[in-house]
């Protein structure tokens, strides 16, 4: 027997021992989650991976005892999170996401946002941008005791304890900061009014949204999760990520996001987490003298088979794109969608019907004039039937093949335009880190905004759109 074989044996033994410990540890964790005696549980994640954090959260929703209440806090690296029934081509600037992925590690001016993941979550609601200045809070409880406001109210109490006296729950179950001057005393216990709340229905200046809510209700459990915007350095560029160039042409079923002006609260992240935990404890086990204890979770939870499975699903392009409710894309007004369209860079007509991410109908035509008859001889057969929209990477080749040499110039212009409408996107594919790369399209925004590095504590930053519907 050679010495190296002895070493191998030792390695194998060590590896086995480590694996055994790991399995024991995770089975201990899964048992603790499902422990029927443990009616109030609390978790905090050290991972910044949005797919993992949402998968851990989903596991807690499914496996915790039906009569238990769970708190889970986590922060994600920069990502755009769309609602369960939303359309990524409509809600997100996919080209901007892809640009950052295509140039990893490229040295840029700070603050470089780098790679931004696209995630479809399992709860309802609208599109939201997350980054490390945002804390997500999540409460899972029995449906019988669930209301849409009760945990937003808990977070308002946590914020007020930190001196944020403008915070309240609004009629959309979100948390806002009232703006303007103090109007008079109100009941301090009232989480739906502050001394700054305006009686006027127009609410000017408009309250700023700092936390948006979304829910997932199953047969046995109710999940309420929300963002909480504390100190995001990216407020100025968020609108760029949430603005799709295809929006004027898309008519979609499903859920559309509602724009709200948003702002940073400007408090410390750790202080916020502690305050939420404290107010959760006050609500659910006030008698415990030991204080709040929470279990730290992270990458190691991927060893739990159900979490791994949910994680792989969330990361898959099929989940991100094929779960899209039916929509049509039309370059010109139609009977069902008569909005005026922005002019195309080429005389063409495009109509696509997309069902569950696959093209079910196409009409594409090129013309020398903009007055294009539908029965024009320039109709192109792109043979897109049943193709998955997100898998068409080279629109120029697709159009060129159909348009032939006579229409080469118009064909490539149309191909380029379609590429800008439906950019290649590898959302869901893991990428390296968050530092470094900056999408080329973003740099002008940075330049014009100037003071992005300074965190805008409690200052209004009006966005054209953002944060959960």
């Amino acid at each position: 027997m050679s010495p190296s074989r002895g070493l191998d044996c030792l390695h194998v033994r060590l590896l086995r021992a480590t694996l055994r410990t790991a399995i024991r540890r995770y089975s201990a964790w899964t048992e603790a989650v499902a422990n029927p005696q443990d009616k109030v549980q609390s978790y905090i994640s050290r991972s910044r991976d949005p797919y993992l954090n949402l998968s851990i959260e989903h596991y807690l929703l499914q496996k915790s005892p039906p009569d238990s209440t769970i708190l889970f806090l986590y922060t994600n690296r920069p990502c755009v999170v769309i609602g369960r029934n939303q359309n990524p081509w409509l809600e997100v600037n996919l080209a901007l996401l892809q640009a950052a992925k295509d140039s990893p590690g490229k040295p840029t001016e700070p603050p470089a946002l780098g790679s931004v993941d696209l995630v479809r979550r399992r709860s309802g609601g609208g599109t939201v941008f997350h980054d490390e200045g945002n804390v997500n809070w999540s409460v899972i409880c029995p449906p019988a005791t669930f209301t849409r406001d009760k945990h937003a109210e808990m977070v308002v109490r946590a914020l007020r304890a930190l001196g944020v006296d403008r915070a309240r729950v609004n009629e959309r179950h979100d948390i806002v900061l009232d703006q303007g001057v103090r109007k008079g005393a109100v009941d301090e216990e009232d989480t739906h009014r502050t001394p700054y709340t305006s009686e006027a229905s127009s609410h000017k200046p408009r309250p700023l949204k700092v936390s948006g809510s979304a829910y997932k209700l199953t047969r046995t459990r109710a999940l309420h999760h929300g963002t909480c915007l504390l100190s995001s350095p990216n407020l100025n560029i968020i609108p760029d990520y949430l603005h799709s160039p295809a929006r004027p042409y898309i008519k979609a079923r499903g859920v559309e996001s509602v724009s709200s002006p948003v702002g940073n609260i400007g408090i410390e992240i750790e202080a916020f987490k502690s305050s939420v935990q404290e107010h959760y404890q006050k609500m659910y086990y006030p008698a415990d003298a030991n204080g709040h204890t929470s279990t730290v979770v992270g990458e190691e939870q991927l060893d739990v088979a159900d979490i791994r499975e949910g994680y792989e699903e969330l990361k898959s392009l099929d989940w991100t794109f094929l779960q899209t409710p039916q929509f049509t894309f039309s370059s010109h007004p139609t009977e069902e969608d008569d909005r005026r369209r922005p002019d195309l860079p080429v005389a063409a007509r495009v109509y696509l019907k997309v069902r569950f991410g696959s093209i079910t109908e196409e009409f594409v035509a090129l013309a020398d004039t903009s007055s294009l008859a539908v029965d024009s001889g320039h109709k192109l057969r792109l043979d897109l039937q049943d193709q998955k929209l997100h898998e068409i990477h080279d629109w120029t080749a697709v159009v060129d093949k159909a348009s032939g040499p006579h229409n080469a110039r118009a064909g490539s212009a149309l191909g380029a335009w379609l590429t800008s409408m439906f950019p290649r996107n590898e959302a869901g594919v893991m990428n390296v880190g968050i530092s470094g790369a900056l999408a080329p399209g973003v740099s002008t925004v940075h330049d014009s905004s100037g003071g992005l590095q300074s965190i805008q504590a409690a200052l209004p930053a009006t966005l054209e759109k953002a944060f959960w519907v």
Partner: protein, 170 residues
């Protein structure tokens, strides 16, 4: 009428007591124009409800069921903006999710009251999800299912039982 009732009673004797209990609130149906031939299956066919606020009603041959959500649930959910329908041939057990509705930022699972195989989703809801709010126990039905074991119906609440159940929630 008496003959019909006696047939029903005979059937009740060979089925469980729960079926007989379920027979009582069918009164409302007697008042409607009615052309079903075997009243013995009326008790089994009568609309039943789950504690998760779904309803199911069996076809006249008792082999297929129509599933929807109750008026109480439709009111509680608020405006439905999207319905995720089940695909045909989906095999489910009682209590498993067959789809979901989205309303007021909430994705809510819809569960099958019984085991079986989905035959059809209500395609009207694709274009008009609000039909669930307007007519939850009629044209707002969600799916049709081939029922594996109609005996599972007996575990469900009848209309009266469900009414009491929801009153207890308020």
């Amino acid at each position: 009428m008496a003959a019909r009732l006696s047939i029903a009673r005979a059937v009740c004797q060979i089925s469980s007591r729960r079926t007989c209990a379920a027979f009582r609130p069918v009164r409302a149906q007697w008042q409607q124009p009615y052309s079903r031939s075997f009243s013995c299956s009326i008790a089994a066919r009568a609309k039943k409800y789950t504690e998760d606020h779904e309803w199911i009603e069996l076809s006249s041959d008792g082999k297929t069921g129509t599933i929807g959500i109750s008026t109480y649930a439709a009111n509680a959910l608020g405006d439905v903006v999207y319905v995720e329908l089940p695909t045909s041939d989906l095999e489910v057990k009682a209590g498993e999710a067959i789809g979901a509705v989205e309303s007021v930022k909430s994705a809510s699972d819809i569960n099958s009251p019984v085991s079986g195989k989905i035959i059809e989703g209500n395609s009207v809801l694709e274009e008009k999800p609000g039909t669930i709010n307007n007519d939850p126990e009629g044209s707002g039905w969600i799916a049709k299912i081939e029922v594996a074991d109609s005996g599972e119906m007996e575990r469900l609440m009848d209309e009266g039982g469900y009414k009491e159940f929801t009153e207890g929630l308020e």
